[in-house]
């Protein structure tokens, strides 16, 4: 028996998830479209005045990113659970940690990364303060993986429930709030040309804590859900 190395198992799952997503493009486009629509609707609703918009821009971008991630979370384990491939993954000889981490990374590549790429364009629409762009990109870069990691715990817990949508939001949104607070605070601080290292350090700490701990929580939750 040729035993797969951890890295090979990891890339096997990532490749598979990316392939499935690219053949089922709705899954990639929907959350991104939602993000763009929400952000572009705000100037229409609030009015085009640049001082108001630039004041609320960080909040709008981050709240939209948060909600669009929430919208895409279902895809993480739902379909695999429905067709039985999740069981097969849990029964494979690889540590569940590796498989779960691979699925979360694939999810971030498909939802977090496009958000980061499109965010500067939308920031222009909202008259985001010039000096805030660096902070916006850095907080998104550190913060969106946290959204995928923490969201995965919620999905893993609710995957066995037929209509877990509301429960998922209730479980996950409170966990997202610290990221939201520190990210928007970092962007606001940057707009005042003040150092925002502190907020960034806290988001980074949340990122590393969830990167190392969330896959364990997800593995345990999946075992309960498939019981």
């Amino acid at each position: 028996m040729t035993q797969l190395s951890y890295r090979a198992a990891f890339s096997l799952i990532v490749k598979r998830d990316l392939m499935i997503a690219f053949r089922h493009r709705d899954d990639i486009i929907n959350p991104l479209l939602f993000f763009i629509i929400v952000v572009t609707l705000f100037p229409l609703g609030v009015g085009p005045e640049s001082t108001t918009l630039s004041r609320i821009a960080p909040g709008i971008i981050w709240v939209a990113a948060l909600l669009s991630t929430l919208l895409s979370l279902d895809r993480l384990f739902k379909s695999d659970h429905a067709d039985g491939s999740l069981e097969q993954m849990l029964l494979s000889p690889h540590p569940v940690f590796i498989l779960v981490l691979a699925k979360i990374v694939a999810h971030w590549l498909l939802t977090g990364l496009p958000l980061i790429l499109i965010a500067p364009l939308l920031a222009v629409l909202l008259h985001l303060h010039e000096s805030s762009y660096g902070a916006l990109m850095l907080t998104l870069l550190l913060g969106t993986p946290v959204l995928s990691l923490l969201g995965a715990i919620g999905v893993a817990l609710t995957v066995g429930i037929k209509k877990g949508g509301v429960l998922l939001s209730l479980l996950v949104l409170p966990l997202y709030i610290p990221v939201l607070i520190f990210a928007t605070s970092a962007i606001d601080t940057a707009a005042m040309n003040l150092p925002y290292n502190g907020q960034l350090a806290i988001i980074a700490a949340i990122f590393f804590a969830s990167l190392t701990l969330a896959p364990f929580a997800v593995s345990a939750a999946l075992k309960v859900s498939t019981n």
């Binding site: 035993q3 392939m19 499935i20 067709d83 039985g84 069981e87 000889p93 690889h94």
Partner: protein
């Protein structure tokens, strides 16, 4: 109560369970069930719908936790040796685990690679389950029986000793069933064991098939 618990005296027990009790939805499915499966055994779990056949198989595979009791692989608790046990286990449940978005060949290649098997032979393995010509067809365009065949194709490559198969013949045609039964026999002769549920009568010689009967309990 199970009418005939299998307690073989063979020393080389592959998979055994002692004192299994399973409760689902506040209903007792079976209690203090002892099972001992040795290399070369083909075990058919029988019983009416809702008697707990699937639950028993899932417990044996380590997917579900029993209310009470322990499952052993080669006389060691399966929860103590997850990776070793999983390398020797092939479980196919009700759901075939086939992704609609991938082709038949990609599905099989992924399944083989995930379980540490050589995925280059996927094409020739598909021929074994009569799916030649469908390699590049998306699974969403294939029938339920063909989905099951994709999942079952792994049996031809598997080096796992323990096969746990939940209703493997669902949606499979007569010829396919015959071929599978021969494969089970061959697997058992090579020192493996097969645990399966089916409502069909197996055409294998009665001396080779051991039966575990679960009764439906009304309390």
């Amino acid at each position: 109560m199970p009418e005939n618990n299998i307690v073989t005296t063979k020393p080389n027990s592959l998979l055994s369970a002692s004192n299994l009790t399973c409760i689902r939805e506040e209903r007792l499915l079976f209690e203090t069930l002892d099972i001992n499966i040795a290399a070369g055994d083909i075990v058919q779990v029988e019983g009416p719908n809702g008697a707990g056949k699937t639950s028993l198989l899932r417990i044996l595979a380590g997917l579900s936790q029993p209310y009470d009791g322990t499952v052993y692989f080669q006389d060691e608790n399966i929860s103590q040796q997850r990776e070793n046990f999983h390398q020797n286990l092939l479980y196919l449940g009700h759901l075939p685990g086939v992704k609609d978005e991938m082709t038949a060949q990609e599905n099989l290649e992924f399944n083989l690679a995930l379980h540490g098997l050589n995925s280059e032979s996927a094409e020739s393995t598909l021929a074994e389950v009569n799916l030649l010509g469908f390699e590049d067809a998306l699974a969403s365009h294939l029938s339920a029986g063909q989905h099951r065949r994709i999942a079952l194709a792994r049996l031809w490559q598997s080096q796992a000793k323990i096969w746990i198969l939940d209703e493997p013949f669902t949606a499979i045609d007569k010829l396919g069933v015959e071929k599978l039964e021969q494969l089970f026999l061959q697997h058992a002769d090579n020192g493996g064991c097969v645990v399966l549920t089916t409502h069909q009568d197996l055409s294998l010689p009665a001396t080779r098939v051991k039966k575990v009967t679960l009764a439906y309990r009304f309390y």
